[in-house]
């Protein structure tokens, strides 16, 4: 297996981008990653695109060909493939690109992720997002996507004494980080009070416990590590890649307070990297709800099961903490354009490992991790990156 490096990253702003279409944002992110890698379309061997539901958000399927076309790759008939795993679509697309380069099949691969969520009403968007859960045995019976996460939160509070305040602290921290990220959807700091007085969505989760709907795209360029210095002064190596699946419906899982897929994906990624949790300086984790970040920091092995809330409250996951979690603002504050999220996480980690993260820079960052989840935990993808 060949070693693989990230040589270029690019993204769009995240938010309600009324002036931009799906193809506009997809191409903008892709072109910016290609420019960052100092390559041109002539160098590209393959394209992978992470996207959850263009068919329902913009009534357009076959978006791999669409993005390849408008990226200028049609003339040379460059292969383009769409990857779907609900919220983990972006992370999984990265893994497919990684496998393609590591295997020796392709040299230069562009991996993008995009979602255009605001061309449908909020009501329709909620229906589409709920399709990441089991339609026949969860959604039809009244369990919305936030309700399923509320079931996790309620049980985690019951078993481990996690408090309502600790859930709020996740959102407060991620908004603080978002306030330092000029590309974040929300750049305003909030307080515990903001979270705890916001409208109830599904008890105990309130509006500020939930990531927003967003438009946005992000992309990266991969190549074999041994060629990376041709394109960039600071290559970032993908040293570990892990993927795992679990039962689709939440109620079938072994323990709803643990995402077994996250644990398995992390175990595989750490084994490939020959690294341990203590080696990681920063992590972008899948905080689609505040409770999700608490599970993530536990299941990734940064804190013991049940200690995620306390660790957050104690500031251990902040910029100056033991491990800086969601320095970009996370899904909560940077925004969550579903298919783009897994790639936006990579853009943040690479930016940090290059030392270019400005006010939110983690000092001397050498190793970073991304964690991307589909549904309520039926898919998880973990990648580990090191400054080469």
């Amino acid at each position: 297996m060949r070693r693989v490096a990230v040589i270029g990253v690019g993204d769009t702003e995240f938010g309600e981008l009324w002036d931009s279409s799906f193809r506009d944002i997809g191409i903008k992110a892709g072109l910016s990653a290609v420019a960052d890698a100092n390559i041109s379309a002539d160098n590209i061997d393959a394209l992978f695109v992470g996207n959850m539901s263009a068919g329902r958000f913009i009534e357009q399927e076959h978006i791999a060909a669409l993005i390849g076309d408008y990226a200028g790759l049609a003339r040379d008939n460059i292969p383009s493939t769409r990857i779907e795993a609900a919220g983990a679509s972006g992370g999984l697309a990265l893994r497919q690109g990684f496998i393609a380069v590591a295997s020796g099949l392709h040299d230069i691969v562009v991996v993008g992720g995009a979602e255009k969520m605001t061309d449908v009403s909020d009501e329709e968007s909620a229906v589409i997002q709920s399709s990441a859960a089991d339609q026949e045995w969860e959604t039809v019976l009244g369990a919305t996507f936030p309700a399923l996460h509320a079931l996790i939160a309620k049980r985690h509070m019951h078993e481990y004494g996690t408090t309502r305040e600790q859930l709020a602290d996740v959102a407060v921290k991620n908004h603080r980080h978002g306030s330092l990220n000029p590309k974040a959807q929300f750049q305003r700091e909030i307080t515990r009070e903001t979270v705890m007085s916001s409208p109830m969505v599904s008890s105990p989760l309130r509006m500020f416990d939930c990531a927003p709907s967003s438009d946005g795209a992000a992309a990266v360029v991969l190549c074999p590590l041994e060629q990376a210095k041709k394109y960039t002064e600071v290559p970032v190596e993908i040293v570990g890649s892990g993927q795992a699946s679990d039962y689709l419906a939440l109620h079938h899982r072994k323990d709803i307070c643990t995402m077994e897929a996250t644990k398995a994906a992390a175990k595989r990624a750490f084994a490939m990297a020959s690294l341990a949790q203590k080696d990681v300086d920063l992590a972008e984790v899948h905080d689609n709800f505040t409770i999700s970040e608490i599970l993530a920091v536990e299941d990734l092995g940064f804190f013991k099961k049940g200690e995620g809330g306390k660790a957050t409250e104690a500031g251990l996951t902040g910029l100056e903490g033991e491990i800086a979690v969601n320095t970009s603002g996370g899904l909560k504050a940077r925004g969550d354009p579903i298919g783009a999220t897994g790639l936006a996480q990579v853009v943040e980690i690479v930016t940090q490992l290059r030392g270019k993260a400005g006010k939110r820079q983690v000092k001397d960052a050498q190793v970073g991790l991304t964690h991307n989840v589909g549904g309520t935990g039926a898919t998880a993808v973990v990648h580990i990156f090191r400054r080469a």
């Binding site: 079931l151 599904s202 008890s203 109620h251």
Partner: protein, 138 residues
Amino acid sequence: MATAPRFWRENPSRYNLVGIRCNSCGRYFFPRRAICPICHRKSVGKIEEVKLKGTGKIFSFTEVHDTLEELVLQKPYVVAMVEFDEGPKVTGQVIDCEASELQIGTPVRVTMRKLSEEGPSGIIHYGYKFVPVKEKAP
């Protein structure tokens, strides 16, 4: 809007709680599956359809305030994860009570109710919901 067969074909499980028992390991699963996820190939030919009793306990619950369009008239409503006495867990609404009357561990039983309807002249969907089992007076 989906056609009627999509919903009809699930009626045995939604109306009558038909799940399976794996006669290799003795575990129950709901809804039906073709193969036991624990025993794998050993379960082939040993999957038996069974009707669950419909009694269990609340494993976790939430009061839903913001929901999908077809359910807005029901809100706020309670959704629980229920652990059946036979072992499998399911997700469904808990009705005829306030969320404040419920706790993790509250005993419940199944009841057949309307789940939703697809507009004024569309299909009406029925299925299971749960009601708390009142403690008998001493």
